[in-house]
């Protein structure tokens, strides 16, 4: 499923912070987790994750350490910082407001559209 670029960009930070709040992780594992969480419907451009991680690192929301993976390669691990948890909490509030508002919009839309035929109206929210 294609998700608008801006939406991906806006949701990426809270998603990454949320995943890292669960425990430290590294790039590939974070992406796998995103795919899992979205049931495979959200596909990020893998390369874009790294500039994002670096930006969060610079903002001191996460911190990075180089470790060694099982196969002997160097691997960069990221962990959330207290500032990151605070930012995550803030984002969570913002997103709940947005999600709540959107929910209402969808419901109104569904209510208003029941008269007009259309299979898509009843689908999600009934």
């Amino acid at each position: 499923m294609h998700i608008d670029k801006d939406l991906v960009a806006a949701s990426a930070t809270p998603l990454v912070l949320g995943i890292l709040a669960d425990g430290e992780s590294y790039g590939y594992a974070i992406l796998k987790r995103v795919t899992e969480l979205s049931g495979g419907r959200m596909q990020w451009t893998d390369g874009m994750l790294y500039p994002l991680l670096h930006r969060l690192e610079r903002q001191e929301l996460i911190e990075a350490t180089w470790g060694t993976a099982d196969n002997g390669r160097r691997r960069k691990h990221y962990a959330i910082t207290p500032a990151g948890r605070a930012a995550l909490a803030e984002r969570q509030e913002q997103w709940s407001v947005v999600a709540e508002a959107l929910e209402k919009v969808w419901r109104d839309l569904a209510d208003g559209a029941t008269g007009l035929a259309g299979p898509r109206t009843a689908e999600g929210w009934a």
Binding site: Y26, G27, Y28, L31, Q43, T45, D46, G47, M48, Y50, P51, L52, H54, R55, R58, A69, N71, G72, R73, R74, R75, K76
Partner: protein
Amino acid sequence: MSETPRNTTQSTPDHTGLEAQIDQWRGFVRRRRAIAAPDIEEMEDHLREQVADLNAGGLDDDEAFLVAVKRMGNLDDVSREFAREHSDRLWKQLVLFPDAPAGQAPGRGLGRFRDLAVLLSLAIAAGIALKILLANVTEETTLLLNGPFLVLPFLAGYLAWKRALPLRTASVLLAATAALALIVNLYPFDLGNPADPYPEPGMTVVLAGLHAPIVLWLLVGVVYAAGSWRSDARRMDYVRFTGELLVYLALIQLGGMLLVGLTAGVLSLVGVDFEPFIEDWLLPFALPGALMVAAWLVEAKKSVVENIAPVLARVFTPLAALMLLAMFVALLAGGPFDAVDRELLILMDAVLLLVLFLLLYSISARDPLAPPGIFDWLQLVLVGAALAVDAVALTAMLVRIAEFGFTANKVAALGLNLILLVHLAWAGRLTLGFVRGSRTFVATERWQTRYLPVYGVWALVVTVVFPPVFGFA
């Protein structure tokens, strides 16, 4: 990133194709300035994990690699994101004292400065050598003649140390330098009347003083190329080094003059005369010091900072072409050359040298595989105009020389002119072939580097053969 640990546990011979592909991918990514080495390592790890997962899902190496690279996204876009996050990386940072490479014991912090310490000691040694010369010789011509012999070997010494030059090559070069120094000092040159407060030296000694440094500079080039001076690539590197060195030297001199001027200004206000100190101590140490530090900077920066000489060459190529066209018209319209003498010839040499530098430095920074473009045509116009101007001037000069006979100066100027003419004419021919598509650019490039020793041989002839031929006058 040669220090990247290879994936030894998984790369059984079956995965050699994959390893090659990953190597290639890494090469592509490395060209992006915004993506630093650790980032590449991080993304490579990602790529390998992805490939391994896809392998597990039943894809073979090739398919898995393709999918993984595709998922990584368009490299341009990713690179742009990196650039947005790390804009400083686009302004490459000059690291003069590199950290010890990863994996080496820390404790060698002083080692980082060893390079500079060696360089500065050599610069001071060169300064002392110059100072000793100044203390013993007052004659300007002798100073001019010997100065380069006292400074350039120290620069060569630094490069030899850096490149771990084989002792045999070093001793051959040293012997050649010593022989040349002996010759120019033993020749009974006409230095002018010693009783005269401003003696006027003979032509041949001035010519030798001007040409000996060129011979020495080419010998320094052998050291720079670590002995493999036959290699076209090393020669081109030396051309680049020379260009950057000149630019850095000019900038350092500008800065030095500013400092000296400010100091002298303040000191003169409090009644201290700074000038004797400048003449006696500052100049003998500052001149070789500036040269050495400039060489060190050029060595340290190399690819980190964009080379400036080619940029200047690009800016001035169209302007120089215009200048030459104006000259050509003026020469043709200006009428008889009765009034002009060897000054015209020397000026023409200077013009051709300028054109040659523009050509050489443009070539030094050109991608040999790029197709011919507008700039190549511009260069052709430049060379063509230079040849036309020179042909007009040369015809006039030959007539004059035939009438009034040869002197050392005229022969030296004429010889250089002919050498430059051959160089440029053939370069023009090759460039024409290139823009027409019948030749490769590599041929043009190779011609430049192959021809360089001719200048050394000519300089050697002027230094060594001219004085006896023209009676040391």
